[in-house]
């Protein structure tokens, strides 16, 4: 049985449909990320699960019990906003024992929780005397001591600078797993979601776009929006010309003829290529299939990788990432040959509303 079930939840604010028939499950101990751009309905969903909002339609079940009508304080669900909202006028100890004392649980739980996050020596400190990482650990201990099994995190790391974000992200997942918490973590950062979660739900305009493991979502996105939101992608549109032997060819105005593996989903298609799947040759190789001449516009050095901005002779702009140091120096103005490998294209049917609208974050 799933630990949390959300079934057919919809919610409108006036004319705006914030959530539209959202259904999913989370199993015990799972770390789930809800990923989506601003205004996708992520926070609304979190508030419905926590009981702060009532859905217009649909139900929420926790451990098989329908909690849709139960007020937040009786759900055993801990909601943690950005920065964790540790009570500034209480010490670490008072913060952690808060929920336990209200629910009439023993203080030993609080002591135990603090021991497990390794902060038993800081019980008399106030939140503003702790580092960011320590505050996060106090917040987790507070949830644990209150008997919370489901932790809802609303953009917990968004206010932090990148280095601290990466550090706390790692610790958050490690501690949540160690403490056996089921976590739903809301974020708008695809990178954060991929690195921390067991499962990702991509939300857009109140609708679920895709549910899956990070790798699935990255390599097999269900639509153009997810493909673009989860990571950078080069988009080429074209018309299917020929199908045979598990391959099909696409004619595109901006590159020419392309050969792709798989079955075309329709007559007009959109092909997506991740920057790391594009191969660059400095000299014209032997094999000419899917090979296009291009001029280098800009070379960016990113440390672990080198990013190259290119324009093909027919005017298509591409980005490509090199993960090793090129033998021959590539500089802006160089002429190179770009290969779009036939088995690395992500293929979609051409969207009815057009590409720009299909990938728009609004």
């Amino acid at each position: 049985m799933a630990f949390l079930e959300v079934g057919g939840v919809s919610k409108s604010f006036g004319p705006i449909r914030a959530l539209d028939n959202v259904t999913f499950e989370v199993s015990k101990g799972e770390y789930l990320c809800i990923l989506g751009p601003t205004g996708a309905g992520k926070t609304t969903l979190l508030r419905i699960i926590s009981g702060l909002l009532e859905p217009d339609e649909g139900e929420v079940y926790i451990e098989g019990v329908n909690v849709t009508q139960i007020p937040p304080e009786e759900r055993n669900v801990a909601y943690m906003p950005q920065g964790y909202a540790l009570f500034p006028h209480m010490t670490v100890w008072e913060n952690v024992v808060y929920g336990a004392s209200i629910k009439g649980l023993s203080e030993e739980r609080a002591r135990d929780a603090l021991r497990r996050v390794g902060l038993l020596h800081r019980v008399d400190s106030y939140p503003n005397e702790l580092s960011g990482g320590q505050q996060q650990r106090v917040a987790l201990a507070r949830v644990l001591a209150a008997g919370g099994k489901l932790l809802l995190l609303d953009e917990p790391l968004s206010a932090l600078d990148l280095l601290l974000n990466i550090e706390l992200r790692y610790e958050l997942r490690k501690l949540a797993k160690k403490l056996g918490l089921t976590v739903i973590h809301v974020t708008h950062s695809a990178e954060e979601a991929m690195s921390i979660s067991d499962k990702i739900i991509v939300l857009r305009r109140g609708r679920i776009q895709q549910i899956g493991k990070p790798e699935e979502i990255y390599h097999a996105p269900s639509n153009l929006f997810v493909a673009n939101f989860i990571g950078e992608i080069n988009i080429i549109e074209g018309i299917v010309r020929d199908i045979h032997n598990g391959y099909f060819t696409v004619e595109s105005k901006t590159v020419g003829i392309l050969k792709v593996r798989g079955k075309p989903p329709g007559g007009v298609v959109v092909l997506g290529y991740r920057p790391e799947s594009i191969i660059i040759y400095v000299e014209k190789p032997f094999y000419e299939e899917n090979l296009y001449k291009a001029i280098v516009e800009e070379v960016e050095f990113h440390g672990v990788k080198t990013r190259i901005h290119l324009t093909t002779i027919r005017g298509l702009k591409l980005i490509a990432d090199l993960w090793f140091k090129p033998v021959v120096k590539i500089r802006s103005g160089s002429i190179v040959y770009v290969k779009l490998p036939e088995d690395s294209a992500i293929v979609f049917r051409y969207p009815r509303e057009g590409i720009i609208k299909a990938i728009s974050l609004e």
């Binding site: 926590s50 909601y79 009570f87 004392s101 209200i102 009439g104 203080e107």
Partner: protein, 538 residues
């Protein structure tokens, strides 16, 4: 330098007392004829004042916090009207409001009479032994200080604390007691201090409803009229001292959160939590209804009764039918209150305009100084002083300092009124000016301008002044209404001149009730219009 003129009067009373200690000691404690009669009276007046102010603040808190919760957390139709009603007592001429409250409660068809009670100015609240009407007036005039500061604090407080608390299992009442309340406690304290100081210094309304009881600030006005400067100065100094002792430490302590240890033992605590859990969640509407009910009784009802009375007294006394008891006869008849009302309105408008203009100029300089000098914080606290000093004590100080007994530059009369009003208007303007300085994030723009090559004076002229203009304007309007309605200090410094609010007191004392009705109505309508304009600007 200019600011010195603002601080000096508040502190001058102490100088006065020290320099004439022997004379004062003899008069107050060892008078050859009446012995320590004055001291006895001072103690009696202070006793009443403190009982009154403390009870007032206690009731203010009970009414004010739920009301603030309603205004700070919820949206409902008619909210802006409720907001206007809570600003009104801050700008309403107190003597007029006192008069309205008095007739609302004592008239034969007033609320008390409807309930079958007989209430007069001599009706006393048991236990604390305070005249009932005086208490009602003080509550009505001071509760907005609590409401305003608490609403501000609630709006600044991030909603996440309450959300987290409820997700950890706390009932809304428990959340309020353990999380919200401690976090807004500093604001509650500073609001209480302001309310306490205002109640301690309230003169205009109190004079009208006082009957035979004498509060400290009324005693100052009476003694000054009888030219008994020694006891008046002594009592004034005590009031100023108390107000300053209250305001300065609390203003300095603010800014940090109040951190407290748990006082309630765990067993009692868990009992309380259980008790709170048993309160139905749907009870909150009751709290809202009750607070709106209080608001209408203490603010709306007096105004309504006043309107009603003006109408029925318009041509003649409704009970005897005599024309002499009507408003028209009193205004245009032999006593000719019409011309005194007109001339006092002109005086009031002139005083308010000149004082506000001067205060705005000084206020802008003060804002620049506070923003850019190292002593900014110190100046800010000092500028709070005229806001909390009892006005009659301030007026007395002005007379003693500038008048014939002191430097002898300005005699009581028009210009001394202006000068006195400048003293309490400057802090009002700097307050709103500074608020817009901080809220507008001005230091950021100023430093940006500096890096773009603007000098100190360029920055002040091109960045600071235009951006604090609205705040200063709003403050000026507030100061203007304040000046129109000021009674306590004006009474002492006015000499032969009359402002409209002091005229109301004179009329009530002369039992010219119909004329007082008319003058009060003018005052209240004017201040309500100004409230609306104020909200438009701010």
């Amino acid at each position: 330098m200019l600011l010195l003129f603002v601080f000096m009067p508040s502190l001058y009373l102490f100088t006065y007392i020290f320099s004439r200690w022997n004379e004062i000691y003899v008069t107050v404690f060892a008078h050859p004829i009446i012995g320590n009669q004055y001291w006895t009276e001072i103690v009696r007046a202070l006793n009443l004042s403190f009982r009154l102010s403390l009870t007032t603040v206690a009731i203010d808190l009970v009414i004010g916090i739920p009301l603030a919760y309603l205004l700070g957390k919820k949206d409902f139709p008619g909210k802006s009207l409720i907001e206007d009603l809570t600003i009104l007592p801050l700008v309403i001429p107190t003597s007029g409001f006192g008069f309205a409250t008095m007739i609302a409660w004592t008239a034969s068809y007033g609320l008390a009479a409807l309930l079958g009670l007989r209430v007069g100015v001599d009706t006393v609240v048991p236990l604390v032994n305070i005249p009932l009407i005086m208490l009602i007036v003080h509550v009505a005039l001071t509760f907005p200080y609590i409401v305003n500061t608490v609403v501000g604090a609630l709006k600044d407080l991030s909603a996440s604390f309450e959300i987290v608390s409820s997700s950890l299992g706390a009932h809304p009442v428990t959340t309020f007691r353990k999380v919200t309340f401690p976090l807004i406690l500093p604001s509650i304290l500073s609001g209480s201090v302001l309310a306490f100081a205002r109640s301690l210094g309230e003169t205009g309304a109190t004079m009208i409803v006082s009957g035979v009881s004498t509060t400290a600030s009324i005693a100052i006005v009476r003694w000054e009229f009888e030219n008994k400067l020694a006891p008046a100065a002594f009592l004034g100094a005590i009031l100023v001292g108390v107000s300053m002792i209250l305001i300065v430490p609390i203003e300095y302590a603010l800014g940090g959160t109040i951190k407290g240890r748990r006082i309630i033992p765990l067993s009692v605590e868990s009992f309380i939590v259980k008790l709170e859990k048993s309160i139905p969640r749907k009870m909150s509407w009751l709290r809202d209804i009750v607070s709106i009910f209080f608001l209408s009784i203490i603010i709306l009802m007096p105004i309504a009764v006043l309107l009603y009375n003006t109408v029925i007294y318009w041509s003649c006394d409704p009970y005897t039918g005599r024309v002499e008891g009507g408003i028209l006869y009193q205004l245009f008849g032999p006593s000719d209150y019409y011309s005194s009302i007109v001339s006092s309105i002109i005086t009031s408008l002139l005083v308010a305009s000149i004082a506000t203009l001067i205060s705005a100029l000084v206020g802008v300089l003060a804002v620049l100084l506070m923003a850019h000098s190292r002593f900014g914080r110190f100046i800010k606290v000092l500028l709070k002083v005229p806001l909390v000093v009892p006005t009659s004590a301030l007026g007395l100080s002005m007379v003693l300092l500038w008048g014939p007994h002191g430097i002898g530059v300005v005699d009581p009369g028009f210009w001394l009124i202006v000068l006195t009003h400048v003293v309490f208007s400057v802090p009002v303007i700097t307050e709103t000016g500074m608020a817009s300085y901080i809220e507008g994030n001005l230091p950021l723009y100023e430093s940006t301008a500096r890096t773009l090559g603007a000098g100190y004076y360029d920055v002040a002229e091109t960045i600071t002044l235009p951006l604090v203009k609205r705040g200063v304007l709003a403050g000026s309007l507030l100061a203007f209404t304040h000046s129109l309605g000021e009674t306590g200090a004006t009474f002492i410094v006015m000499g032969e001149h009359r402002t409209i609010s002091t005229l109301v007191v004179n009329m009530v004392e002369a039992l010219a009730i119909p004329a007082a009705l008319f003058a009060t109505l003018i005052l209240i309508v004017t201040s309500f219009v100004l409230v609306v304009v104020f909200k438009e600007i701010y």
